[in-house]
């Protein structure tokens, strides 16, 4: 499994290179890869059908218990087959849809990386591995949604999707880590067996909310549903893939995956089913508010996701059976419908329903594919969607709580689905021919092979459900439920309540379809869509704008461009932090040895202090230069008195140079003027004196502590025998700490170069100035 996964990533990375060699054949060649991975999973099929679970593990970061471990049971198998199977058609379809596009190589690269990430999510056993792949899907889908990066709408949608799913991802990470620590293991396969520990843990509520936040953002549940229709800015192959088999299904997958460990509580039922039902109701209406085929399909996706969430929330075998069937059925018809919508857009130049009609004779294969897929979507016998819908109704009727409410919502939702199916499949192809922006004709083979195959599978599985029920659906439902289930699927359940409800749904859907055009322009509809579509989206926008303006404000305050306020901030922070720590931890201490101070030392002290005062107070530049000189030479005298002739020598030299340099430069500078308010001078004086006080106090306190001369004595001892030097300070500089000294030399040299450059630049400038004058 690791090899299968890695091969997708590797081929994805070299795909742009392949394109420059293979050109328009690239799609067909690249499609071999997901197809062979699909075949690989098919070979594992019998084992999974027998209820086995396959695990594989490779160490990744053993220190932190992160392993690249994979876990294949019915649920993973269903998703793996969908990801690779539909992925095969998407790659083909993309090569036709984007034929000749400037960035088609980039498309192949990102779609394969995305496929690999999604496969990683559904196969991962280790929680951290799961999270890494989860984030990779967010990231690659960002690239895919923003594929047309020159359009602002596309970039905004991509960013929106990334932020919403990314924030959800962070919540998920926190949830997964808590879950791992509570259960004592980071392997999903082991966590599934420790559900009781999790459910009884005091952290259960937190873990549940965090994980649900991750799943709901990814699966576009209310109030996060707005990003998914926004993601329609992506090229159609991407939308088809995102909606049918991947990305948004990751959230559903996660819910299904953790159900055995986290489900089976009232809280789970209320939260998961509740959010699912609410989203279903909202999106059912929103789906009918648009005329863009892709927008309509996007909201039907939200509806299906909501239905799945609702079903997983119910937490009993029949519901999970329905969920398993729904996942497969939806993937098949939604991928086909998106691909057909894209084909219409591609061939006819628009995908606005109001501008389409009568394409049947021009695009016969697409029309058939759309019809088959739409019939499955509408849940009409003998299509696979019918089985799913019957199971949904049965499950809703049997729900332990709120059964009447749930069945009503389910029926209402499905009425909208039927209507939407009619809108996207009947309206463009039947009725009077409408003039389209482009002269429509049938799409190329690469673009219709996918929809027709997938849509036909809907019929095959629907009429012959025994092909997949015990081998795929039963293991999937068992994995969601957490215990082995035994059931079979059939089309005909006799005349019962679900069947009657189906008929009601169908009739209701047809009625809604008939009055659809009138419906979308009515005022309450507009209000409703504003509240539930623009509301959450506005909230998102508000948060993003708020964050940006806060960041802007903060930057303007902190980075105000005034040097002395930067210094002031640093200095005050330093005074407070050091002063507080010093007084609270150490306290002032002092060895009074003032008695031994000689008179000439007092004199020196007084001179230096007075010079410092003069340097600060006077405005005469000459006086400042003199004061600086006195301070420097005074210090040199102190160094000389206390056994540091080298220091004194250096200080004298440097001080001389400093005074000359300062004098040279100051001559060319304007005189110092009185320019500042007394208030700010006083404030700065207080701050400066406080810091100076802390400085002195800390020095004095440090001097009372025992002193360790070990290093100094070692240096003195080694100086002659080891380095043949009689001046210990010199030996330290050029031998023991030679590297340090070399760094210093480099710094001084660089400073010298910079000074030279600045002065030289000046000369050139003045030449120019001279020429002008």
């Amino acid at each position: 499994m690791l090899i299968a996964l890695l091969s997708i990533f590797i081929v994805g990375l070299i795909a742009p290179g392949l394109y420059s060699v293979l050109r328009e054949k690239t799609g067909w060649v690249l499609a071999i890869l997901p197809f062979s991975v699909f075949i690989y999973f098919l070979t594992l099929f019998p084992a999974i059908a027998d209820g086995e679970v396959i695990t594989q593990s490779t160490d990744w970061v053993p220190l932190f218990d992160v392993t690249l471990s994979f876990y294949l049971d019915g649920l993973s198998m269903l998703f793996a087959l969908l990801v690779t199977g539909i992925g095969t058609f998407i790659v083909l379809y993309g090569s036709g849809y984007l034929a000749g596009h400037e960035y088609i190589g980039r498309f192949f690269c990102t779609i394969l990386l995305f496929m690999g990430s999604m496969l990683g999510v559904v196969l991962a056993d280790n929680l951290i591995t799961l999270f890494v792949f989860w984030e990779l899907t967010s990231f690659t889908s960002y690239l895919l949604i923003g594929f047309s990066h020159d359009s602002a709408e596309s970039r905004n949608s991509a960013l929106q999707a990334l932020l919403v799913t990314g924030i959800g991802g962070l919540a998920l990470l926190a949830g997964l880590i808590l879950m791992g620590y509570t259960a004592g293991t980071f392997e999903m396969s082991e966590i599934l067996n420790s559900g009781d520990v999790l459910r009884e843990s005091p952290l259960y509520l937190g873990i549940l909310i965090l994980i649900l936040a991750g799943a709901f953002t990814k699966s576009a549940q209310f109030p996060f549903h707005f990003w998914l229709p926004g993601a329609m800015a992506a090229p159609t192959p991407v939308s088809a893939y995102l909606h049918s088999a991947t990305m948004v299904k990751a959230g559903v997958y996660l819910l299904a995956r953790v159900h055995p460990a986290m489900g089976d509580t009232d809280l789970w039922f209320y939260l998961v089913t509740g959010f699912g039902a609410a989203t279903l109701l909202i999106s059912a209406w929103l789906a009918l508010c648009y005329t863009d085929m892709k927008q309509i399909l996007a909201y039907t996706t939200v509806m299906v996701l909501a239905t799945l969430t609702m079903l997983i929330g119910m937490g009993f075998p029949l519901a999970h059976q329905a969920a398993a069937v729904y996942i497969l059925g939806h993937a098949l018809y939604k991928a086909s419908l998106f691909m057909v919508a894209g084909a219409i857009d591609h061939e006819a130049g628009t995908r606005d329903i109001a501008k389409l009609g009568g394409l049947r004779s021009l695009m016969p294969i697409s029309a058939v594919a759309a019809a088959l897929a739409a019939l499955s979507m509408a849940g009409i016998a003998p299509f696979f969607g019918f089985i799913g819908k019957e199971l949904l109704y049965e499950a809703a009727l049997e729900a332990p709580m709120w059964s009447t409410l749930l069945i009503s919502i389910a029926v209402l939702g499905n009425i909208a689905v039927v209507a939407a199916a009619g809108i996207v499949a009947i309206k463009p192809f039947y009725g009077p021919k409408v003039e389209t922006p482009k002269h429509a004709h049938e799409a190329p083979l690469s673009m219709w092979i996918g929809p027709i195959t997938l849509a036909s599978l809907g019929v095959v599985f629907g009429s012959l459900p025994f092909l997949i029920d015990s081998s795929l659906i039963v293991p999937t439902a068992s994995a969601i439920y957490g215990e082995t289930l035994d059931f079979y699927l059939s089309l005909w359940h006799g005349i019962n309540l679900p069947l009657i409800l189906s008929v009601v749904t169908l009739l209701g859907g047809i009625a809604v379809y008939k009055i659809w055009t009138g419906l979308q322009s009515s005022t309450p509809a507009g209000l409703y869509s504003t509240t539930f579509h623009d509301g959450p989206k506005g909230g998102y926008q508000f948060l993003v704008d708020g964050m940006l303006s806060t960041a802007g404000w903060q930057t303007r305050v902190l980075q105000n461009g005034m040097l002395r306020y930067y210094v002031l901030t640093i200095v005050v922070t330093m005074a407070v932090a050091i002063g507080y720590t010093f007084m609270s931890r150490a306290g002032f201490a002092w060895n009074n040895e003032l008695g031994s101070v000689e008179l000439y030392e007092w004199t020196l002290f007084a001179t230096i202090i007075a010079s410092a005062l003069i340097a600060v107070m006077v405005r005469s530049r000459l006086a400042i230069i003199v004061a600086l000189g006195v301070i420097g030479f005074g210090l040199a005298l102190i160094y000389l008195m206390y056994g540091a002739p080298d220091l004194a020598m250096t200080q004298v030299l440097v001080e001389t140079l400093t005074v000359i340099l300062v004098a040279l430069v100051l001559v060319h500078m304007p005189p110092l003027k009185k320019s500042e308010a007394a208030g700010s001078k006083f404030r700065d004086a207080v701050i400066a004196l406080t810091l100076g006080g802390i400085f002195t106090a800390m020095t004095l306190t440090a001097m009372t502590l025992p002193f360790d001369l070990f290093i100094s004595e070692q240096f003195a001892e080694w100086s002659y025998p080891a380095a043949h030097g009689r001046n210990i300070v010199n030996v330290i500089l050029v031998d023991f700490r030679a590297l340090d000294t070399m760094g210093e030399v480099v710094v001084v040299a660089v400073a010298g170069l910079a000074v030279y450059a600045l002065v030289k630049m000046n000369k050139k400038q003045s030449k120019n100035g001279g020429a002008e004058s």
């Binding site: 461009g561 040097l563 002395r564 200095v571 040895e593 003032l594 007092w602 002290f605 230096i608 202090i609 410092a612 600060v616 600086l628 301070i631 420097g632 210090l635 102190i638 056994g643 540091a644 080298d646 220091l647 250096t650 440097v654 340099l661 300062v662 430069v665 060319h668 500078m669 304007p670 110092l672 320019s675 500042e676 700065d684 004086a685 701050i687 400066a688 810091l691 100076g692 400085f695 002195t696 020095t699 004095l700 440090a702 001097m703 003195a716 100086s719 009689r726 001046n727 210990i728 300070v729 330290i732 500089l733 210093e744 710094v747 001084v748 400073a751 910079a754 000074v755 600045l758 630049m761």
Partner: protein
């Protein structure tokens, strides 16, 4: 003397900080000189003062005559003095250049709107190109 030297360090540091906080660029540069002197004094002082012998080894000996001054802080301060001088030279010339370019040593007047600055830079570039 340690006490006096500690006070000298604190006084130089306070004077330096006060000068760095001024609006005038020249004063800020002078502040930098004062602060580096203050830090040198701190290091020298913390290594303990010894009036006796410098850390030198006389002809014929292999060890300096005890008690001798602590050589380690001296080495560190020596490095610091030279580095401080490099910094000072650079800061001074930079201040000088800023004055020549902008015609002011007032830090507040130097602050320009980024848009203005880039417009000016563009204009200058054009001038050079011509």
């Amino acid at each position: 003397m340690e006490t006096l030297l500690a006070i000298i360090g604190g006084a130089l540091f306070a004077a330096g900080i006060y000068m760095v906080l001024r609006r005038n660029l020249i004063k800020a540069v002078i502040g930098i000189i004062l602060i580096s002197n203050a830090v040198n004094v701190l290091f020298f002082n913390l290594g303990r003062l010894t009036k006796a012998n410098p850390p030198l080894i006389w002809e014929g000996n292999t060890l300096p005559v005890s008690p001798f001054a602590n050589p380690l802080p001296q080495a560190l301060v020596l490095t610091a003095i030279v580095i401080g001088f490099g910094l000072l030279a650079f800061a001074l010339v930079l201040a000088y250049r800023s004055y020549k370019e902008l015609g002011t040593v007032d830090l507040d007047d130097m602050k320009m709107d980024p848009v203005e600055v880039s417009a000016e830079m563009r204009a200058e570039e054009e001038q050079v190109n011509q």
